[in-house]
Symmetry: none
Subunit: 222 residues, 2 copies
């Protein structure tokens, strides 16, 4: 600790790591980061495996810039491994791939950001800072894809003509309550619950609690 303090004047330099198999791009990025005020690229690696080995033995970086197409383990798998060792590291993807699946998988796996390699150098530096601040830096094309993913996420509400009361019953059903429990909760008779369920089943074209609950989840009813 003391040595690092004496080595350079800044006490608050943020550690950035780089995982990138293209040697030229790696060196360019390293130079770029070290040139940026307040940050330093302490290590760079050609593969996730190398980086993971280093992670176990020494002080951790705050941000890792991570390529996707790598020899051995790919970047997406890498995210999971890294997060397993140290969940607090911010991982920003830096790649040429902009297809929906990669974006989706990377963000699901725990990436904090997703940049394309054609980003302007300042944009990359800004993005590291944004990641450090807890944000989600993304290239504009990627941000657009994220919006697309969201709008695909919640499609129809095919509610099969269920009344609001019936939906209420359904909700309690999915919580695992029995008819009697539902009746108690809603202050109605057991028989009323039975009748409602009958109607619900007929509207959903199922003939059991299990069928109804499955349908609710599969088709996003409620």
């Amino acid at each position: 600790m003391i040595t690092s303090k004496t080595k350079n004047n800044a006490t608050a330099l943020r550690n950035i790591w780089l995982i990138e198999d293209n040697a030229h791009f790696r060196r360019t990025m390293q130079w770029l980061i070290n040139r940026a005020p307040g940050m330093q690229c302490t290590h760079s690696f050609e593969s996730c495996e190398d980086a993971l080995a280093k992670l176990e033995e020494e002080e951790l970086p705050e941000v890792i810039l991570l390529d996707i197409n790598l020899p051995g383990m790919n970047g997406i798998q890498g995210i999971e491994k890294i997060k397993l060792i140290s969940p607090d590291i911010y991982i920003v993807i830096l790649t040429v791939y902009d297809d929906n699946d990669k974006v989706f998988d990377a963000l699901c796996a725990g990436a904090s950001g997703y940049l394309l390699k054609d980003s302007a150098p300042e944009k990359i530096i800004d993005s590291i800072e944004e990641a450090l601040a807890g944000g989600a830096p993304m290239s504009i094309q990627i941000a657009h894809k994220v919006l697309e993913i969201f709008s695909q996420l919640k499609p129809k509400k095919s509610d099969y003509g269920l009344t609001s009361r019936e939906k209420e019953l359904l909700q309690l059903m999915t919580a695992g309550l029995s008819r009697q429990q539902i009746a108690d909760k809603l202050f109605i008779s057991f028989h009323t619950v039975t009748t409602h369920l009958k109607n619900i089943y007929s509207k959903l074209h199922v003939n059991s609690k299990s069928g109804a609950i499955s349908k609710v989840y599969k088709e996003n009813i409620l």
Copy 2:
């Protein structure tokens, strides 16, 4: 068209609308936008209803800044209505609410961005530009929530130590089959199915088919 060109010199002023019920905040925002180079706030409204009426009759804005808590129709519902009339308008939410549900619902409904009202004025103007460029401007807290939503989206496969046979049974269960039907399908005895279900319930800590199915979907088992 001609009049608008003669009225002001700039031919490429971007039209921004504002839907916001707080009169003071509305005026401040309007002033802020009109002061920004390249954009003008041509209309502002207190409710979605008012804005929707105007949308039908005259030239469209490129971006709408939209509050969520509004008299009458709320902002989320408003998004859907607006997109129905003109899907190309970029809608940026500007609100004080930062809960997961609102963020999720807004983005699913088609919002292009989500800002908190405590954002710096320059950040708001930048965000409008980012929206116009096809991006997804968000306050840093919101970006963080988006990441959270993603990581919840495809999380664990906490399989509770289910055996592969048990998973098979579970799958058939979620299709709504009864014990006898499952038995027939798998060419095993009714009693065997019963035993499996017993074990599944105990592993999942539930005590009914309904509970098991709900758990399967909620926690992404299978």
